[in-house]
């Protein structure tokens, strides 16, 4: 640690400082690269900011300043221009396109969202409440090209935003509450830029990067995309997950942000491909030779394995869910640093990430420079720093509950070795799936409990091959004939990732503690 200081990174405390500086240095540099049908399209910083300016004035002329604006969209380039156009004078609320209409409407209502930008692909999610008089629904695909036709000088944008308040609430990050209600973390530009800087102070990021995670995901968007823009680099977008493997090869990125499910999936695909070509034994032999040579500081990994993914890929950051250390070692054999990280939406989200010269596959990484972490007496990880949110929107009780002596309570147990953090478990019953999605078992259990025939139930996970699936364990004295029909009805009211893949009937009541709470740890995985 002591021999490996944090890297020097220019300080921007808000997006005005960041964009103004990057644009001033390299206006014609490619900011975004993506595939439109089959052609690759490059957008320079100048173009991105011209469109941002048009969209900013569109919002201003519509009298939408200070309004909460939802964005419900698949990954696409316009997401970024809308984000930057909105974040200075409005509050942007990135919404999950995998959610169900009922939950989305509740979010719109509970978080005072006045306008929702949606797309042709997400239109089905909002069609049932489009007639609402309180909320305006605008289809990006229908209006975007007209909006950007109305051109304004970027200088006018700078004039408008030069006095940006870095501490103003501007991003609403949706996060799970312990009771099942969604909470809105109020984030500022200082929070987000502190997180970006922290990531860059831990590792050298070269261009280009590839973004594959959903853009509404705080981790996918902030460290995954905005970090590259903070550096003035090029971010390539995977707009369709189907093309991810091709994008990995063709865009030849230096850095990709993933969740464990994708990192593991890519590795397994390499093995399957080698097997298909009957080169699996050869691959294993090459890995052995390479590992042997590495002991003598001879590194031929890029030469040997460069073609498996691409020749440039050096860093994969992995967050959103616990990562199996096995894969850190497997990627390392191929010459790729799978950097395990840790964070929460409330911390914009980055708290720590592993470093190239200071890797530990068991650790979730080195605490970022400007953040102070400590461990409470009960073992809970506590965080203080410029990345910590203002609080939960319209929820002072939850805000008070999550803070202690100026530190944010993460809800996770762990320990520190100098600045390196190790996570050992969760305080809450939250289930974190390998794709980074959080599932509150209580939320599904409440729905199950509404069924008369269910006496007791818990929702847990079961491992099938390497994947974890959601399972309901049910105790009943009188099961109906078609249990699956009831489960299907509940599943329909839940987002895809929260749906129960299976159920099991228990032959006796669950074991409980002295306060009659089910001992969850005795069941499931």
């Amino acid at each position: 640690m002591a021999g490996y200081p944090y890297l020097d990174v220019v300080v921007y405390n808000n997006f005005y400082e960041m964009l103004h500086s990057v644009y001033g240095k390299t206006p014609e540099e490619i900011a975004i690269r993506y595939r439109e049908k089959e052609a690759i399209r490059d957008i320079s910083y100048r173009e991105m900011l011209e469109e941002t300016t048009s969209f900013y004035f569109y919002l201003k002329n519509k009298g939408l300043e200070n309004k909460h604006i939802g964005i419900l969209s698949e990954n696409r380039y316009e997401y970024l221009t809308i984000y930057f156009a909105t974040v200075f004078k409005n509050v942007i609320a990135p919404m999950d396109k995998e959610n169900v209409p009922e939950n989305l409407w509740k979010q719109i209502h509970d978080f005072d969202i006045s306008v929702v930008f949606y797309t042709d692909k997400t239109a089905h999610l909002v069609e049932s409440f489009q007639t609402s008089e309180e909320v305006e629904f605008i289809n990006i695909d229908e209006v975007y090209s007209d909006i950007i036709e109305d051109k304004h000088s970027i200088d006018l944008l700078w004039e408008e935003i030069k006095d940006t308040d870095s501490d103003r609430f501007c991003v609403l990050g949706f996060t799970s509450g312990t009771t099942g209600d969604v909470k809105g973390a109020m984030l500022t530009q200082r929070n987000v830029t502190a997180c970006l800087r922290g990531a860059l102070q831990n590792n050298v990021l070269k261009s280009p990067s590839l973004a594959v995670l959903p853009m509404n995901h705080t981790y996918g968007f902030n460290p995954g995309i905005l970090c590259t823009l903070y550096n003035g680099g090029t971010i390539c977008l995977t707009v369709n997950i189907k093309h991810f493997q091709r994008d990995l090869k063709e865009y030849n990125p230096y850095f990709v942000s993933m969740v464990p499910m994708i990192a593991e999936g890519v590795y397994k695909k390499i093995l399957a491909e080698a097997k298909r070509q009957k080169k699996d034994k050869l691959l294993q032999r090459m890995i052995k030779v390479s590992n042997f040579l590495l002991k003598f500081k001879i590194d031929i990994r890029r030469m040997l394995f460069g073609n498996l993914i691409n020749k440039r890929l050096k860093f994969i950051s992995c967050g959103g869910a616990p990562l199996n250390p096995y894969y850190v070692d497997r990627y390392m054999e191929l010459g790729i640093y799978l950097l395990n990280g840790y964070g929460l939406t409330e911390c914009a989200p980055l708290i720590c990430i592993n470093r190239e010269f200071d890797m530990d596959s068991e650790s979730v990484g080195t605490i970022i420079k400007e953040v102070d972490a400590k461990i409470a007496d009960d073992g809970e990880i506590l965080i203080k720093g410029p990345n910590v949110m203002l609080g939960y929107y319209k929820n002072p009780e939850a805000t008070a509950e999550c803070m202690v002596d100026g530190y944010f309570k993460t809800g996770d147990y762990g320990y520190l070795k100098e600045r390196r953090l190790y996570v050992t478990g969760r305080k809450k019953n939250l289930i974190i799936l390998d794709n980074g999605k959080n599932v509150l078992p209580e939320m599904i259990e409440a729905k199950l409990s509404n069924l008369d025939w269910i006496k007791e139930c818990i929702v847990t996970t079961r491992r099938v091959n390497d994947n974890r699936i959601l399972v309901a364990l049910i105790y009943t004295e009188e099961a109906p004939e078609d249990i699956q029909a009831d489960i299907d009805r509940i599943n329909e009211s839940l987002p895809e990732y929260m749906r129960l893949a299976d159920y099991e009937l228990m032959d006796k009541e669950f074991e409980k503690n002295s306060t009659k709470k089910i001992l969850r740890s005795k069941y499931g995985e």
Binding site: K242, M261, K268, E496
Partner: protein, 76 residues
């Protein structure tokens, strides 16, 4: 069709036994990422385009096969 699917599942996911009623998630432990990979492999093999909005209705082996057969019939 089932024979070809069997081969794909065996070669790519090491799954040897396939039954009509098997559920990709529950019985084989396929993640959504694995499933998209399977879709890509099928598309390559059969020159069929599987629309993203259809993924959710393809949960079991028989559902996928029926879907692919319908797509093939459409194309002919």
């Amino acid at each position: 069709m089932i024979a070809a699917l069997k081969k794909l599942m065996k070669d790519n996911y090491g799954i040897k036994q396939i039954n009509d009623d098997d559920n990709f998630k529950k019985d084989y432990g396929l993640t959504s990422f694995d499933f998209v990979n399977l879709v890509c492999l099928i598309e390559e093999e059969y020159h069929i385009e599987i629309d993203e909005k259809d993924y959710r209705s393809l949960n079991t082996v028989s559902e996928l096969i029926a879907y692919l057969e319908a797509k093939r019939a459409e194309a002919q």
